[in-house]
Amino acid sequence: MNFDFSDDQKQLRDQARKFLAEKCSPKAVRVVLDGKAPYDSELWKGLAEMGFLGVAIPEEFGGAGAGHLELCVIAEEMGRANAPVPFSSTVYLAAEALLIAGSDAQKKEWLPAIASGEAIGTLALFEGKGNPSPKNIKLTASNGVLNGVKKPVADGAIANFAVVAARTGSSGRDSDVSLFLVDLKAGGVEMRGLTNLDPTRGQAEITFKDCKAEPLGAAGEGWSILTQVLDRAAVLCAFEQVGGADRALEMGRDYALDRIAFGRQIGSFQAVKHMLADMYVSATLARSNSYYGAWALSTNAAELPEAAAAARISATQAFQHCAKNNIQVHGGMGFTWEFDCHMYYRRANAMALGLGSLSYWEDQLIDRMRKKNAA
């Protein structure tokens, strides 16, 4: 059994960590946090130069042609650094949707642009409240023309193109949904930035008014494609969450070692030690579940739907738990804008909702486990 990343993959992780430590310090993240830039465009360029944006994109489409395990180790580092770039929307959602369902021409148009950092992509799925469901898709498409409003769309205000989920039927079945590819710089689109929990990752409202769009994948296949995209993204996001959870745990541990109260290190009090031990437990469970998700993703195993849901739940819980208790370990200082704790708290709670909420994925997991048991 070799349930671990290879030496080459670990080396890539070290390389990514070193790069991000240099180019994505908390100070750099704060430029975006404070609203002075919509995202870190210098970092984005750097990620492209390092080959990280196209690591899982085949060479024929301008990528490095490595694979999803390589993307997982980079995702972990992106989460650890709290990177203020549209990585998840572009790489996990838009690029994966293109890889699954794009025509050769569509792949040629967009994938090289993603790998080179020229194009930012996103998935326009949600329409206000609610979780992923065909019922919640109201935006219409008829004769290749879209009408409707999507929000929140991650990184929607800075994206060049979007994969848009639209209603193309009214049978009440999953086949009512089709996907479309929209160049957001063309006409019929209005993008408006929205304030959100985590300013280091923007959210937007996108209004489509008689907007011309080309189909992505076959008509009526939209929901099936989306399900695959969300499963893949769940695993990749889980690695970001695991990276963030580990960093929050480290910050809490370091502070507990440095801070003196009642004449001793606060890390010597069991109330604090046990809180940190519990954070370690969550982070470890999340990492192990995510490894299984990575295996299922990289081998396109039949276990992927269940593995993805388990990784998603475990990593969401761990990041929320570690980010929350990191603030608690810090005490009052943890509640200042000046300390970095809140950046991870914001990211953890924003990520918990991005692909559908925790309760949605819990429901998915149990559903998938039942199907497996029934089979």
Binding site: A277, L285, A294, W295
Partner: protein, 414 residues
């Protein structure tokens, strides 16, 4: 990343599988598969008798204590081979329960600290299941703080005279030998005045009394020592070195990577899949679904954490500290699951009979037994201390009794 055996591992697995297939007591398989929680009970057989027979067979086939050196009754197997063996032995591994303390703790301690004569005399018989060992560490006033133990050992000629009491001794009533830690010098700080021995459990002055536990069962014992004589040749390590010797034993306790801990999740999943509530199946209820999912990911997280440790062993590396979380997570989970299953049963949940309505009382039994899972082998609190100190590098507790002679440490709270 893959779950495949290396060619050598596959060959070893094949050999092990064939041997188990040809030799295991198949007639007990169904019964052993069912009992997942707590002590094993068999309808028609005594676990010690059946266990001894299986252990003897394994010994003759060279599969007993297989990670031990050959000269002491083992096979000289690598850590990964031991894990593969445990996987192939499967449910029949439950039959080795009476020997686990001996194989996992007493044997390794004798191996590390015993004389060559002692190793050759005792270890092969332990491996063959002919002699059962128990561990005599905990005392009524020394649990987590085991170095605070009171049992005295006083030198008289070539012998040591033992007086005192041990508690929570699994299997003392059927054990032949015991590993005993006792206080040889009460005038020095507590860790420095301890010495390790082993003794014949049939020695005059040894009295074993079963303890009736909170769950109504009797699985552990108290052991009383009244002027029990132990020859000095049965001392392990130097006088006053007992604490270091005990660490060998306790380290081995935590090395059981292949061992799968019961979590209660499969039982709970099945229960919720079949239970009809007023509005339909329990598993269709969002609140039930949410709890089940959280438990399921803890359970799978533990499983894949052990896979990571096995992978490290397979590469010849030492596993990281991740595996220390197993008992901490599963103990709490068992208790939570039992409580919630009974909540779903409503008023009938109070009944402990073995009828259909309460699924044969399995969750009621789980509820009553689960507190011990959070205490035995290191309490939840001790395990969190270990994680905090050894994994995260946080400072140890301030110990007010560290430099105080043992006989000056207060013995009463108020």
């Amino acid at each position: 990343m893959n779950f495949d055996d290396t060619p050598q591992e596959a060959a070893f697995r094949e050999t092990a599988r064939k041997w188990v297939e040809a030799n295991a007591p198949k007639e007990l398989e169904a019964e052993l598969s069912k009992s997942s929680l707590g002590r094993i009970r068999l309808a028609k057989h005594d676990i010690v008798d059946v266990g001894k027979a299986w252990q003897k067979k394994k010994f003759e086939g060279n599969w007993a204590c297989l990670h031990w050196p050959k000269e002491y009754g083992g096979r000289g197997a690598t850590p990964i081979e031991r894990v593969i063996w445990q996987q192939e032995e499967g449910v029949f591994g439950k039959l080795t329960q009476p020997f686990q303390i001996g194989e996992g703790m007493c044997g390794p301690t004798v191996m590390a600290w015993g004389s060559e004569d002692a190793k050759r005399r005792y270890l092969p018989k332990l491996a063959a299941g002919e002699e059962i060992w128990c561990q005599l560490f905990s005392e009524p006033s020394a649990g987590s703080d085991v170095a605070g133990l009171r049992t005295r050992a006083e030198k008289k000629g070539d012998n040591w005279i033992i007086n005192g009491q041990k508690i929570w001794t699994s299997g003392a009533h059927y054990s032949d030998y015991g590993l005993l830690i006792a206080r040889t010098d009460p005038n020095v700080p507590k860790h420095k005045g301890l010495t390790m021995f082993f003794l014949d459990m049939k020695s005059p002055g040894v009295e074993v009394r079963p303890i009736k536990q909170a769950n109504g069962m009797q699985e552990f014992n108290e052991v009383y020592f009244t002027d029990v004589e132990i020859p000095d040749s049965q001392r392990l390590g130097a006088v006053g070195e007992g604490w270091s010797v005990s660490l060998t034993t306790l380290m081995n306790e935590r090395m059981s990577i292949g061992a799968r801990l019961a979590t209660g999740v499969p039982e709970m999943f099945e229960f919720c899949s079949n239970l009809m509530l007023e509005d339909g199946l329990a598993i269709d209820d969002p609140a039930v679904c949410s709890k089940l999912a959280s438990w399921a990911v803890k359970s799978s997280g533990l499983k894949y954490t052990s896979y990571r440790a096995i992978s490290a062993l397979s590469k010849g590396e030492r596993p990281g500290p991740e595996n220390s979380i197993g008992k901490l997570v599963s103990g709490m989970m068992l208790q939570d699951i039992a409580t919630y299953a009974m909540d779903l049963q409503g008023a009938a949940g109070v009944l402990t009979g073995t009828d259909e309505e309460t699924v044969h009382g399995q969750f009621q039994q789980m509820l009553l037994s689960s507190p011990s899972m959070r205490i035995a082998g290191g309490t939840d609190e001790i395990l969190r201390n270990i994680i905090a100190e050894r994994v995260l590098g946080l400072p140890g507790d301030i110990r007010v009794d560290k430099d105080v002679p043992y006989n000056k440490i207060p013995t009463k709270g108020r």
